[in-house]
Every structure is written in C-alpha cells, then in structure tokens.
C-alpha cells in the first residue's frame, strides 16, 4: 500500500490525459469536446461524493444501512436497465425484480460459502459489480427482444393464429435474447487473464496483494458474474416479453 501515491498534484497533472481526447476531438472535428469535459466533471463529482459516503458507511458498519445501500444500487441499476428498453410498454418493476433476485441470490451464495462477509466494505463493492454487469446484460436482453419482436412479427402472428399461447409464440425470441445477454460475460470469462486483467484482480495487485491470492478473488468474480447475468437476463426476459402482448394474447401494434 505504501507505493500507492496518488497525490492531489499528480491527479491534477493527469488531466493532461483528458486533454489528449480533447485534442483528438478538436483536430478531427468530432464535436466531442463539450461531452468530454461534461463526463469528466461528472465523474469527479460522483466519485468524490461516493468516496466520502463509503468512508462514512464503512466507519458506521451497520447491517441495515448496508442493505439499504445495496437496495439503492439495485434501484439505480434497474432505472438504467429500464431506460435501455426500447419498448414503450416497459415496466420499471420488472427490471427491479430481476436485479433484486439476481443480485441477492448471488450475494447469498457468496455469503453462505463464506467467500464474503456481511460487512459494508465487502458487500457494497461486490453488489456494485454484480448490479452493474446485470444492468448491461438486462439492457442487452431488452434490446434483442425488441429487435426480434419487430423482425419476426409475422412468425409470432402465425403461431398465435395456430392457437399457441404467448410463451410458445415467443420462445425462440426469448431464448435468443437471454443468450445474447449472457454472451459477453461468457466471452469475457474465456479471455480473463489473457486479454485483460479485470478490475478486482488489478485492484488487489495494485494494492500489493500476491497475484496468486488475487486470482482467487477474480475466479470468484467470474463465477458470480456468470450467475448474476444469467439470473438477471432470464428473469427480466421472462417478465418483459409479456409487454409485447395485450390481455387477449394479441401482439400489440407499435
């Protein structure tokens, strides 16, 4: 830990790196300059606030407060996942339920196996990692559902016309959407350590932890993300496909 020295001055000097992307934007007329400054400003403010909040929460070390924070993370992730759903008949509670179940089951297994403890220092970062990955997977699931319901409209109508219920009519689409949602996590598991050293492992190594010890945590993260994205995508997919039909099992016109 003694080698970690990000002083305020060194942080300020690293702004030069931001200027690289600003320079590219200006030279190539990309029109991103304003956006770069806005995103950097937001990141600094958000992270500073989160840093102080986390410091306070870790100090208090209260179980109920920790649970409330996990619920806030899950709600925020649901809000963002829901925003990614192009279906105008989307429902926020569906994203929340999918994220809640996916995150809590994964956390539960990790705690039961004594991999992590119910302390804010462990629960909150892990919840953030789980919910963040689930959010991306669920958003991907929604996007694929929407595209497929649009592209395969005729086929669904034909299945309904044959007397199939909405589940039988949508099953290939649902499977494809869940598969698409899980694929990035599976692909990332295949290349972990070969192409990139993921966040958790890099963080531990950076903090001076033995790399062999750090990989144990990364293996745990890989397992937990596979479980969480799978659960989140399955639950969200099974809830969201129903939004494309009305109560007479008719495909809603968009």
């Amino acid at each position: 830990m003694k080698d970690l020295a990000v002083s305020n001055l060194s942080l300020f000097l690293s702004v030069a790196l931001v200027m690289v992307s600003v320079g590219i934007s200006m030279k190539e007329h990309l029109g991103l300059t304003k956006d770069v400054f806005y995103s950097v400003g937001r990141a600094i403010i958000q992270l500073t606030i989160v840093g102080y909040i986390l410091k306070y929460i870790f100090k208090i070390n209260n179980v109920w407060l920790t649970i409330v924070i996990t619920l806030l993370i899950i709600f925020n992730a649901s809000w963002n996942a829901n925003k990614r759903d192009p279906n105008p008949d989307k429902k926020l509670w569906q994203s929340f339920v999918a994220l809640l179940i996916g995150t809590y089951i994964t956390l539960g297994v990790l705690m039961l196996s004594k991999t992590i403890k119910l302390v804010p220092m462990q629960i909150i970062p892990i919840t953030g990692m789980i919910a963040g990955n689930e959010m991306v997977a669920i958003g991907l699931c929604y996007k694929t559902l929407n595209e497929s319901f649009h592209d395969q409209r005729q086929q669904i109508l034909e299945k309904l016309a044959l007397g199939a219920d909405i589940k039988d009519s949508s099953m290939p689409i649902l499977r494809r959407s869940i598969k698409t949602a899980m694929q990035p996590t599976i692909d990332s598991a295949k290349t972990v350590g070969l192409v990139n050293l993921p966040g958790m492992m890099s963080g531990l190594i950076f903090a001076g932890v033995d790399p062999v010890y750090a990989i144990k945590y990364q293996i745990m993260v890989t397992f937990m993300l596979l479980s969480a994205t799978g659960l989140g995508a399955v639950i969200a997919g099974y809830l969201a496909y129903k939004n494309y039909f009305n109560d007479r099992m008719q495909l809603i016109e968009k």
Binding site: Q154, L157, E158, A161, L162, D168, M249, Q250
Partner: protein, 211 residues
C-alpha cells in the same frame, strides 16, 4: 350462425379500416370476400381470427362474444392461414410438430405423413429443410399446419396468390375436401377460379360491406 359480426368497427390512428360492419356466417358456409386492395379484407379476417379486436361492435362465435373464449382455444377452432406464410424452425417436421406441441401432445408421425399426402407431398418431406422448399410447397406446408387438428372455421387470406397452377389445384382440392368435412371456409381472394368455387360472395371496399 357460427360467426356474427355486429356493427364491427376497427379504427387505427383516427382512420376507419372497418366501419359499421354486420354479417352473419352460417355453419358450413363457403364465403368468399372480394374487393379492392387496401379495402379492409385482411383486417376483417384478422378480426375474425381474434388477432386484433374491434374498436367498436362485437363478434360472436356460436352466439357468444369471442372475448368470452380463451384466445388460444378460439384460435384453434377458428384457424387463420396467412398470405405468404413463414415457416418456423429448420425442417418441415418442426412446423408440423408445432400444433402438437402447443396442445401438449406427442407428435403423431402417421397423422403428419397423412396430411402431407393430402397435398401431394411424400412422407420423406418431413425431414426436408424449409430453405429448400418452393413457394408452392411452403404454402402447402403452412396450410396443412392449420389442418392437422380440424378447425371449425378456416380463414384463408389470398393463400394461392403467386402459386403455380399445379400448387393452386392441389390447394383448391384440399380446401374443397375440408369444406365437405363440414368446416366453414372464409376466404379472401382475387383469383377468378376461387371466386367461381364460392358458395357465397361478398364485396368489401373502404372497410364496408358493398351490397
């Protein structure tokens, strides 16, 4: 009457596709609907198939509002066959197994072979990939997919459009046999041969029944 439309209207974005439409269809009838393109014929069939619901009026099936039936049970009795249908899965078998699957029944191989023969297709056709089928073969497979379990009403939406004469003849023969078997047929067509075969003809234009 097997189907009755009572002042049925269907309106989308302030536009009347079907308006104030009333019609009684007797059990066992062979009704042909003709009229200009865009006049509301296909919408009428979709309303009868309960794939869309009227925005005004009501449709009765056997003297009961169709909304009192479960949509799946209703559509198994009033079966709609599309113009230019799409086939599912990979093989012809995937398509013919589907009606069994949705009824939670094991696929009946001999029944599937029997319906294939009724449209002049050999039993080994079951394993044929759907990408290898001609337009006429696809339409025949789609039609028998609707007929594996005999419906009470068969709705046909210009199903012979674009078919070669041989395929058309096979389809006509099958439809006549299905009708003889006491299934009510309601077809939309522009084909003169089919218009001549009809027992009853109505004309639909601008969403209205033309007397």
């Amino acid at each position: 009457m097997i189907l009755s439309l009572k002042n049925v209207g269907y309106r989308v974005k302030d536009k009347d596709i079907i308006s104030n439409f009333s019609l009684d269809i007797a059990t066992g009838a062979f009704l042909t609907i003709v009229g200009p393109s865009g006049g509301g014929k296909s919408t009428l069939l979709k309303l009868l198939a309960n794939l869309i619901s009227p925005t005004s009026g009501e449709i009765d099936f056997k003297d009961k509002n169709i909304n009192t039936y479960s949509p799946t049970n209703y559509r198994r009795q009033v079966s709609y066959c599309f113009q230019q249908p799409s086939l599912f899965g990979e093989t012809v078998k995937d398509n013919l197994e589907f009606p069994f699957k949705i009824r939670k029944q094991p696929p009946d191989q001999s029944k599937m072979e029997q319906v294939l023969e009724s449209v002049d297709l050999k039993p080994d056709f079951l394993n044929k990939n759907i990408t290898e089928l001609s337009g006429g073969e696809k339409q025949r497979v789609a039609l028998i997919r609707n007929l594996l379990f005999k419906p009470e009403v068969l709705l046909l939406d210009e199903i012979t459009t674009g078919l070669d004469n041989d395929s058309k003849e096979i389809v006509h023969r099958l439809i006549q046999n299905v009708h003889k078997d006491n299934t009510t047929i309601i077809q939309v067509t522009h084909d003169n041969d089919e218009i001549h075969q009809a027992g009853q003809i109505i004309k639909v234009a601008e969403g209205k029944l033309v007397k």
